[in-house]
């Protein structure tokens, strides 16, 4: 593995510092919300991780198109990295959403638009991973991964629209989609600051982790190529 680039080392430090500040904001700066109590603080990181979860397939579809046109394996590595990271972050988002929902709306799960779409996207990520697992040939794996990422990316907005259409006609009684409107809390300025700051920090965290994961992928590719060469 090539030694860690200076910029990445700097980014790592920046991330850690920003993250710690975010935690500080969430626990000490953001005010206590009266209708839900302390659990409302989960919301800040819940939305931030969900946001990162959404980035995955968009990035993967984009680099998927580039891969199909250029056949350069780096793009495949980026796509896989993006989806893997988003798989983890979306999982966190879904679980924290569930933990938040329980005391807030007395249910572990609501079939509202966002949560349902999140579950579907998570399944798509899992399917992507299973698709790759089942293919030996690296080039075919990259190609199929790109194809599926593109198809999935096209379908997710349509899925979101159809589920939302479903919900407007049959409104969900318990729980809602928009965490700002539902559950009845509006954000004070301090909350807003914490919220947007968390979003920004997690976006930077995504970039940092993506870079690391890409480097890992490149190392893995080198190992695999060497294995193939030696077994030839």
């Amino acid at each position: 593995m090539t030694p860690k680039p200076r910029l990445l080392a700097v980014l790592d430090t920046v991330c850690i510092v920003l993250f710690l500040i975010a935690v500080g904001l969430v626990f000490f700066y953001a005010p206590l919300e009266r209708s839900m109590g302390q659990v409302q603080r989960v919301f800040y990181f819940h939305v931030a991780t969900a946001w990162v979860g959404m980035l995955g397939f968009m990035v993967a579809a984009g680099v998927g198109v580039v891969y199909l046109r250029t056949n350069h394996s780096l793009w495949d590595i980026v796509g896989l990295a993006a989806i893997e990271i988003s798989l983890v972050f979306f999982f966190v988002a879904i679980v924290t959403g569930s933990i938040w929902a329980r005391p807030a709306w007395n249910t572990w799960w609501t079939w509202d638009t966002r949560l349902t779409t999140a579950a579907i996207v998570e399944l798509i990520y899992a399917a992507y991973w299973m698709l790759r697992q089942g293919i030996e040939d690296a080039e075919k794996r990259a190609r199929f991964g790109a194809v599926y990422a593109i198809l999935a990316c096209i379908s997710v907005p349509i899925t979101f629209a159809s589920i939302r259409l479903l919900r407007t006609i049959h409104p969900v009684v318990v729980g809602g989609g928009d965490p700002n409107a539902e559950g009845g809390f509006s954000m004070t300025p301090a909350m807003r600051v914490t919220f947007f700051y968390s979003l920004i920090v997690f976006s930077i965290l995504f970039v940092d982790m993506l870079w690391h994961r890409i480097r890992l992928g490149q190392l893995a590719e080198k190992v695999e190529q060497l294995k193939l060469k030696l077994s030839a």
Partner: protein, 234 residues
């Protein structure tokens, strides 16, 4: 200097190739009828299971029928899609098709339309059987249109994904995993639109679902057509 054939010739050749592929599949199936019988029996079994799984009184049946039908079609559909591609791969037909001097899109459209025909045949048999078993009239033109559009959307994406799935280690098992999350809008829209027609709802209520189905079909037919080359290249 070699000039490329005029576009109209290319189009005609592609069209002929497409028809040839459809015909090949239909003729092969007519002889053995393996796939159709499997899909049919499976569908009827699924309906049977639903009968016991959901104790339906007459009122409940009205609302739930569309869901049961589409769940059945979705599952039976995977059987057909898997089989259709597996045949090509196992008998080496795929390689032969790829070597032929035709546009790859002919292969895609040929397989997709073939799959659509099989799915429609199964649906054409399941509908009257369901009607009789549950005493519901399912021969509403709107409903038939929804079934056509829904099956089309399903098959358009399914053919592409089955072409990929058949080339993996896990094969058959992988197709539903890949397909269902992506084809969900079709299922949602088809169920709601079917339900609308069966309950004799206003067109304004059904229209959004019908349109969503159309939009999906158009977008994905275009996307699949453009992407298919990458799935079968060697």
């Amino acid at each position: 200097m070699k000039t490329s054939p005029p576009p109209i010739n290319l189009l005609r050749r592609t069209f002929q190739a497409t028809v040839a592929i459809i015909w090949k599949d239909l003729a092969a199936e007519m002889r053995s009828r393996e796939m159709l019988s499997a899909m049919l029996v499976f569908s009827l079994l699924v309906i049977l299971i639903f009968n016991f799984a959901l104790e339906l009184d007459i009122k409940a049946r009205q609302t739930v029928t569309s869901g049961i039908l589409w769940a059945t079609f979705a599952f039976a559909g995977t059987l057909g899609l898997n089989r259709s591609m597996a045949i090509e791969k196992d008998r080496g037909c795929m390689d032969g098709l790829l070597l032929a001097p035709v546009d790859r899109s002919a292969i895609y459209f040929g397989k997709a339309i073939g799959n659509l025909v099989f799915m429609l045949v199964v649906e054409a048999i399941v509908l009257p059987v369901y009607s009789v078993l549950y005493n519901i009239n399912l021969f509403h033109p709107g409903l038939l249109a929804v079934i056509l559009l829904g099956s089309l959307g399903y098959v358009v994406v399914g053919t592409l994904l089955s072409a990929m799935a058949v080339q993996t280690r896990t094969r058959d098992v992988l197709l539903p995993i890949l397909l269902f999350p992506v084809v969900l809008p079709v299922l949602i829209s088809a169920v709601k639109a079917s339900q609308g027609f069966l309950l004799a709802a206003e067109w304004t209520e059904i229209a959004p679902w019908f349109n969503l189905l159309l939009v999906y079909d158009v977008i994905f037919t275009a996307a699949a057509f453009m992407i298919f080359d990458y799935v079968v290249e060697e």
